[in-house]
Symmetry: C2
Subunit: 343 residues, 2 copies
DNA sequence: CCGCGCTATGTTAGCGTTAACAATGGGCTT
DNA sequence: AAGCCCATTGTTAACGCTAACATAGCGCGG
C-alpha cells in the first residue's frame, strides 16, 4: 500500500506499475479500467502491483487521451439555502452508478460569478452541465450554447432554456397559493420575501401570487423584503414590523419556509389565533418544518426530484447522444399544514 | 462570442485561435495565461480572436503539460448538516484569489465512500486535500500519506493527523460543557445525540462530557440516540421520550443545535421552567438559533474559521512547498444563551 | 499439419497544452 | 558598421494516458 523502497517522490505512472508487474502499460491500463480481455492471471498480477505501489491513475492524462471526462458540472447559487443541497443529493443519487461525478460550483446569486464559475467548469470539459435558473448573462448563455455538451437548467420552467429544462413553474406556484388563500376566505394579505434582485424564482412567485390575487379582485395589502442574516430571525422581525404597520392583515405569505417558520414562532408566542385570525404560508417544504409546534402551510418544490431528473437527462445523453431540449415541468403540491384555515 | 461559420462542432483548440489570429499556438497560450512578454498589439489580436470564436481553454491538456492543477479537494461527510457548508464558505472565501478552486466530495459518513471519493479526487492530482476528521480507513490513510500534496484534516484535533490539522478539541468541548453545567448546579443530566457510529466528533464530545461529569462525581443519568429524519422533530420526540422515562432530569445536553432546538421548542410548549427547573444546551452555534423564542446555550465550533485556516495552509504550501504538519487548535466559546441558569 | 479464428498482449500515434530552449529582428552601443 | 542585447515570437518535446491497430500464440476442424 505504501512506497517504501527508493521513495524519491516521483509521482507514480502506469510505467511503474507495468515494470513492477512485467506487462505493458497498455495491459495495466486495461486492467485498471476493466476494459478489454485480460487473463485472470495477469489481472491479478497487475492489481497486486498497483496496490503495493499505491498507484492512483492520472485522470488528467486519461481524459486527454480518451476525450472523455466523467464529470458533470453543477452550478447553484448557494449551499446555505438548504434547498440546493437537496437538489444535489438527488443528482448524486442518480449519478451514483453511471460513472459520472458531480462537481459543484457556487455563484452566490451573482451573474458575474456564475460566468466565471461556468468558464472554469467548461475548461475541464465536463460531460454535462446542470445549472440553476434560466436567467444568465449573455456570456454565460453563449458558453452554454457552444459548450457542445448536454445542459440542463433546473428549478424553474418559466422562460426559454438553452437546452433541457427541469423544474416547476414558480409563477404558477404563487398563483396557486393565492387561489388557496382566497378560497379560504382571507382578504388582507401581506407578502414577505428576499430583496435579492437576482432571486428570479422568488420574484416569479410573487408575480404569480399578485396575479392570482388580482384575478379575485384582491390587492396585495403590504410587502416587506429583507437581505442577509438569519432567515428565522428575519422572519420574526419582519412579521413583527409588518403587523405593527398593518394590523388588519389576516394572511402572511412568506417567500421561503425559513422566514415563514420565524413568523410562525413569533405569532404563536404572541398568542395570535393561527389560522383563525391570521393565516400563514411559506414555500419549499423543507424538512425542518416537521419539528415546528405547528405545521406551516407550504408548497413542496420537488427539489430532490428535480435533481434526479436533471441527472437522468445528463446521464442518458452522455451514454447516447440525442437531440436534447427536454422540458420537464414538475407539479409542486400544496401542503396545507395547520396554518391555513379550512374554509 | 458564438461560432457561426462552418459550425462543425469540432471542439475549439489553441490552434483554431492561433490560425484566426495569425500567431503561433504558444503565443496564444501566453496571452491567455498572461504569462511571458507579448506585445500589446498581438495580445489584443489574440484576445479578440479568442472571444469571437468563443474559445474556452482546455485545462485538462494544460494541467497535463504543466503538471499543475488549480484544484483543492474538499472531502466532507454531508452537505445537509449546515455545519459543512459553513466550513466550505470559509474555504471558498480564503481561496478566492489564490487561483485555487475547491472541489467538494461527500462521504455520507461512510469510510468506504470516503475512500472512493478520495481515490477519485487524487486521480485528478489536486494541489491539496482538505478532509474532515482524523479517522480514516487504512486505504484512505495510505493514499493521504502518499499523495505528495498538502493534506489538512479539519474539525477535530483529538488524535494524530497525517499532515496538517485544523480544528477544535471536541473532547475538551464536551468537558467544558459538563463543567459549566455542574457549576450552574444541575445534577441529573441527560445526553441526546446521534447514533451514527461514524460521527467521531459527537462521540468525543460525549466522552469528554462524561469525563467532566465524573470528575465532579456526577453520573450521566440517561442517554438517548437517534439516526436519520428531521433533526428538529427528532429532538422534540427524544426529549419527550426521555423526560417521560426519567422525569427527575434537570439538564439535557444535545449533541447538536438542531435537535437541541427541537427539544427547546418542546419544553417551551409544555411550559417547563427553562432554565430554572430544566437546563438545555446544544452544540455548534448555528445561525438558526438566533430566531428561536429563547437562545439555546451552545458552543461555537468555529466552522468558518476552520475553513479559512485550512485553506490558508493549502494555499501557502501550494505557493511555497514547506515541511507541513501544522496543528492549529481553535477554541470554541461557550455561549450561555437563555437556557442555562446563572447559578 | 495448415491455416483460420480466437484470445491475450504489445506498438504506435496522438489528445491539447506548456516548459524550455531557439530564433528573429530592430535598436543601440561603440 | 559590426556586434550585442533585449523584447518578442516560434519550435520541439514532453506530460501520462488510451484508441486503434498489429502481432503472437494456441486450439481446432478439415
Amino acid at each position: 500500500m505504501a512506497r517504501s523502497p527508493s521513495d524519491t517522490r516521483r509521482p507514480l505512472t502506469l510505467r511503474d506499475v507495468s515494470e513492477a508487474s512485467g506487462v505493458s502499460e497498455m495491459t495495466v491500463s486495461r486492467v485498471l479500467r476493466n476494459r478489454g480481455d485480460v487473463s485472470e492471471a495477469t489481472r491479478e498480477k497487475v492489481l497486486e502491483a498497483a496496490r503495493t505501489l499505491g498507484y492512483v491513475p492520472n485522470k488528467i492524462a486519461g481524459a486527454l487521451a480518451s476525450q472523455r471526462v466523467n464529470l458533470v458540472g453543477v452550478i447553484i447559487p448557494s449551499l446555505s439555502n438548504l434547498v440546493f443541497p437537496e437538489v444535489l443529493s438527488g443528482i448524486s443519487a442518480e449519478l451514483e452508478d453511471t460513472g459520472l461525478q458531480p462537481v459543484v460550483g457556487v455563484t452566490d446569486y451573482s451573474p458575474e460569478k456564475e460566468e466565471r464559475v461556468l468558464y472554469e467548469m467548461l475548461s475541464w470539459r465536463p460531460s454535462g452541465v446542470i445549472i440553476a435558473g434560466l436567467e444568465h448573462s449573455t456570456g454565460s448563455r453563449a458558453m452554454l450554447e457552444n459548450a457542445g455538451v448536454p445542459v440542463v437548467e433546473i428549478m424553474d420552467v418559466d422562460g426559454p432554456g438553452v437546452d433541457a429544462v427541469v423544474g416547476i413553474s414558480h409563477r404558477r406556484a404563487g398563483r396557486q397559493m393565492a387561489e388557496a388563500i382566497v378560497a379560504a376566505g382571507y382578504r388582507k394579505i401581506g407578502f414577505l420575501g428576499t430583496k435579492m434582485p437576482e432571486d428570479h424564482r422568488a420574484r416569479k412567485r410573487l408575480e404569480g401570487f399578485r396575479e392570482g390575487l388580482e384575478e379575485a379582485g384582491i390587492p396585495l395589502t403590504d410587502t416587506e423584503f429583507y437581505a442577509g442574516g438569519s432567515a428565522l430571525l428575519k422572519g420574526r422581525e419582519m412579521t413583527e414590523a409588518m403587523l405593527a404597520r398593518t394590523p388588519e392583515l389576516d394572511f402572511l405569505y412568506y417567500s421561503n419556509d425559513m422566514i415563514g417558520a420565524g413568523g410562525l414562532l413569533y405569532c404563536l408566542e404572541k398568542g395570535f389565533d393561527v389560522p383563525g385570525q391570521l393565516g400563514l404560508a411559506g414555500f419549499n417544504g423543507v424538512e425542518l418544518l416537521d419539528g415546528l409546534p405547528r405545521q406551516l402551510a407550504t408548497m413542496d418544490a420537488c427539489r430532490h426530484e428535480i435533481g434526479r431528473k436533471a441527472a437522468q437527462i445528463v446521464a442518458a445523453r452522455a451514454a447516447t447522444p440525442g437531440p436534447g431540449g427536454e422540458i420537464i415541468e414538475l407539479q409542486p403540491v400544496l401542503e396545507r399544514g395547520d396554518t391555513v384555515r379550512m374554509r
